[in-house]
Assembly symmetry: C2
Homo-oligomer: 349 residues x 2
Amino acid sequence: MLLIAGADHEVGQSLGRLLQDVEARFGAELLSDLPCVNELVGHVERYRGKMLRPTLVLLSSMAVSGRTDLGDLRESAVVTATVCEMVHMATLVHDDILDGAAMRRRGATVNQLRGNETAVMLGDYLISHAYHLCSSLGRADISRAIARATNTVCEGELLQLSHREDWSLDERTYYEVIRRKTASLVGLCCELPTLLSHEPGARNGDGRVGEALFTFGEKLGIAFQIIDDLLDLSGDEGTVGKSLGRDLAKGKLTLPVIRYLDQADGDSAEAMLALLREGAAGGEQHPADDTVYARVCDALASSGALEQARGQAEELVAEARTLLSDTLPDSPARATLLAMAEQVVVRRY
Amino acid sequence: MLLIAGADHEVGQSLGRLLQDVEARFGAELLSDLPCVNELVGHVERYRGKMLRPTLVLLSSMAVSGRTDLGDLRESAVVTATVCEMVHMATLVHDDILDGAAMRRRGATVNQLRGNETAVMLGDYLISHAYHLCSSLGRADISRAIARATNTVCEGELLQLSHREDWSLDERTYYEVIRRKTASLVGLCCELPTLLSHEPGARNGDGRVGEALFTFGEKLGIAFQIIDDLLDLSGDEGTVGKSLGRDLAKGKLTLPVIRYLDQADGDSAEAMLALLREGAAGGEQHPADDTVYARVCDALASSGALEQARGQAEELVAEARTLLSDTLPDSPARATLLAMAEQVVVRRY
């Protein structure tokens, strides 16, 4: 789980217990009568990392209910937190196919170990069980909200794929991609507790709170993805725990590169484009040698483009924090959410 | 759509109109604000073939409601018929990755045209929208039934994958694979109308009818898959409209091969195993030359194994028909379902 520096002790204790419940639900939902399925699921469970999404559902539920034990929201919050983690896990498994990545959280990926085909089906198994678990709440409106978010996630991925090796990708489209593929689900995680605390179809008296929580999560999600993309360019593979330089190999332009190309003089821009083309020429199967990667990273660092991208993420987090402070009354849960938001931009993995 | 010889005129007319509604819902649900997504969806819509699953939902709804216009069941039957077709479409898109198939319904597959990665995401987009559309019914119990079926479909696919190049695959496991990966959804298609005609959670007075309809569909689905597997071995590529011999290239044993290996003398079995190994050696990327495929097919045909497998499918269809006749009162819709069942085993594509 994400260690939250400065979390309130009671909030931290309760969060730890609730996340254990999430893990137990996760395992129980995926249990099959087929040993071959359980073996694969066991492998995926080792992917479990920051638990960002369930943590957001749970903290937001504490903030909305005003109770660290979540009160009446407990059951539905734990279930939806598990659902969001399962959806996220599915996208990781399928993303590894997309990115041809060989390493994830310091372990070999499913596609590496067992082939693309097993990874596709295992991801489908996770998605299917996410919807299955969600429907156990008996709330079709919640199932619909989850499915709407996954529709958007897929659109973001498809939009990104359609811009592979698009060397003139603009910043607006980059933001549109990450808003859909990452931020839509993170936003929903934060909004879910307000949906859960109302009867389906009832006039939502807290519409303003729900909207603000969604936007808080959305901004956080965008910032999170900017940092993720930064780490792919400038992180330390051992610390990050997954293959780096994949965006380069895949011809995916991310914020620092877009900024660099926007601001560089003609010759520097041409030189960068040549490196990008070389970096992507072999695709994921035959990545360019490390010097191409190093030269791209050096140019981005010395131009200040990396820091500009980090600055954008910091700005988004600051906006998210202000929005949350303006919307929710002060509470230990709110303080923990604010602290968590800050850590999104300082993380090194 | 599946042309049903001997369908009652009024049933046929109503079915045609309802299937048009299904197609319209299908398109409306998948419409995106992103042109790149709509272009991909347009490609998938050309996959649409037999419409077996929506046809079963609609005919079963007619039989259960006793009305060719479906009465109160109309809206929910059209929605769930669309959902089932969308789930099926998603499995086709993902199956093409599984099988490395280059041709489907006389057109290039998505993975062939746009790469595995786009095919994975497009399949995910279809699955997500299927659950999204389903939840519009406001019936969490129906969402759960659909998700339970897709859980089972994925298990079947994973079980099959775990038995790739398992040259001692037994008949029991083969049936378990196709029961899960194909028959579970077909069974649900037939059962859905009885679930829809009852309030969620209400004591189901027609439990016996629902169960019988599920079993009818399950037997039909198993027979359908046996024939599908037979066509992969002995069909005509131009007529079937998709790449053949893929099971061989993938090391997937199907019923005729299992029967042959069970019954052949030691030398013939060894010769067959050698051919199977040779056929699978290059995998999907480098299929063995056509003579290997031809020699396998010849051996299966002359041993009677192909006919035995067809006989199994015919037996299952006969059982399904008897069950339906014993359960539902006579009606034009029932007669059409019975006629449809018969066509599953005589189809050549």
